[in-house]
Amino acid sequence: MAITLDQTIAQKQQSWLSAKLGSQTFWVVIAIVLACLFLSYATDSFATSKNLYNITRNVTFVAIVALGMTLVIITGGIDLSVGSVLCLCSMILAVVMHAGYSIEIGIAAAIGTALVVGAFNGVLIAYLGFPPFVVTLGMLSIARSLAMVASNNTVVFEFGPDHDLLLALGGGAWFFGIANPVLYMIVLALITGFVLRWTRFGRHVYAIGGNEQAARLTGVPVRPIKVAVYMISALSAGIAGIIQTGWLGAVTTNIGAGMELQVIAAAVIGGANLAGGIGTAFGAIVGAALIEIIRNSLGLLGINAFWQGTFIGGAIVMAVLFERVRNFRQND
């Protein structure tokens, strides 16, 4: 026999390059690069530092929430409440700081709120067996309503003694002229990527999405992990809310409205599979970036803004179409 059993077992199925070529995320990156090249060539205003600063900063809010959403989607769940949770956390931060408390207390209150909301979602889903869609749809309504209650549906734009610090946190650029939110996004993406790839927790998140029953039988603590995942999703919305508050300098009760759909779109374009088991942190960022570039470029190219939805929707369908085509080939 020419090939021994040892050699067969040691053999890698595919090279690093072919694995990259087969991933949806890779092709979305290519699409982004091509779009950027085209836009730099076709317009004068795209490749300016001011426009790039704007794009990178705009990407961050959807991208940060998409990181948490990607974890939820990998477990086979969905979190529709993120837009409302973002609003609630922003409002809690704003109201607490407006009342004269320091920024530390304000942020702690906002983060605490996010974790409580996430734990509530998670416990209902993991321990009481509610469908994620229903629980988080309920929370979508509850969280926004609570934000209105907390602020009496007013706009908050004065943040007490630490007002300037909050605005600098979200609106500043402390590091080589890169907008602060972008730095937070990069740090959070690296943490998420590390957790998914290198920790037991991350491995179990994928296992739950792949086959929940199998995960349970092999001793994976399925329910605590699911609760944790919904808490992380709400936390990511809370963090995005805090940063967005600092950037905007004002909070209304309609920030983050409809954001859940953009976030889910970003995760899906970046390769997360709504059936569970597949998704990456890098994909979430890339998906959010593609959406923002589409939006930005339509403006620069002078195309009517009403077309935005068509192009973004088209990107979602294209990304998933790619995945389908690949599956058809494998099934043949």
């Binding site: 890698k12 199925q13 491995r203 179990h204 029953q213 995960a215 092999t218 001793g219 994976v220 088991g277």
Partner: protein, 246 residues
């Protein structure tokens, strides 16, 4: 000495008597075929050995001393491993990831532990080699044949020093060639002194690989004899009730 002994085990769910006063023992390196029609109590019996259910009455003994199992993890700690009927595999993970699922190897200092991919690939490869299975640790389970999937599920039982392996319908729904592979795997485990309980509907498999056959009907043990002293016809009669008891 018997590695596992069941003494007058019964299990009822409310008014339903699923297992009724069953006793048997398992010797190291012995393959026992557990047969019976659907609802005869095979699965309930196995789930009690695996720690999924607690017996209503009776005792379990391992190596002569009594054990009480509350959860599957405790059974595993005693050296009882299970290959589940649907294999309990995650298609989206690699073979090595599935083998180590719930028992991942890690490296690092103190609380800073990361998954040790290299060690898991290496160990999984060693186990597949030992099982003489052409299964690559880095392949996704999604792309594997039925026989390879069985090898992954069986490889899990080789991580710890298992004394007893319970196999629930390991040859259901796979091809003829793969059945032969699985039966070889069972022989390999047996040769290492592991006691195996093979639950199966397939008469030829049990008669090929088992040393002894236990037949269950309506929660009771109706036969427990050496394969050499029995025949497929007799076992069929015992399963259906044409033969009352031997």
């Amino acid at each position: 000495m018997a590695v596992l002994e069941l003494v007058n085990i019964s299990k009822h769910f409310g008014a339903i008597q699923a297992v009724n006063d069953v006793s048997f023992s398992l010797e190291p390196g012995e393959v026992v075929g557990l047969m019976g029609d659907n609802g005869a109590g095979k699965s309930t019996l196995v789930k009690m050995i695996a720690g999924n259910f607690r017996p209503s009455e009776g005792r379990l003994k391992m190596d002569g001393s009594e054990i009480v199992l509350h959860r599957p993890v405790e059974a595993r700690r005693h050296g009882i491993e299970i290959v589940h009927q649907d294999l309990a595999l995650c298609n989206n993970l690699t073979a090595a990831a599935n083998v180590f699922l719930g028992r991942e190897l890690r490296r690092g200092i103190g609380p800073f532990q990361v998954l040790d991919y290299a060690a898991m690939y290496r160990r999984a490869g060693e186990i597949f080699n030992e099982l003489k299975s052409e299964t690559r640790p880095r392949d996704l389970v999604k792309q594997m044949s039925g026989g390879q999937r069985q090898a992954v599920a069986i490889a899990r039982t080789r991580l710890s020093d298992a004394k007893i392996v319970l196999m629930d319908e390991p040859t259901a729904a796979i091809s003829v060639r793969q059945v032969a592979e699985v039966l070889n795997l069972i022989r390999l485990l047996r040769d290492q002194g592991i006691a195996i309980v093979l639950i199966s509907h397939r008469m030829p498999d049990v008669f090929t690989v088992a040393d002894r056959v236990i037949v269950m009907r309506r929660g009771q043990k109706v036969a427990d004899k050496k394969i050499a002293d029995s025949s497929p016809e007799e076992v069929t009669g015992l399963i259906t009730g044409a033969i009352e008891r031997v």
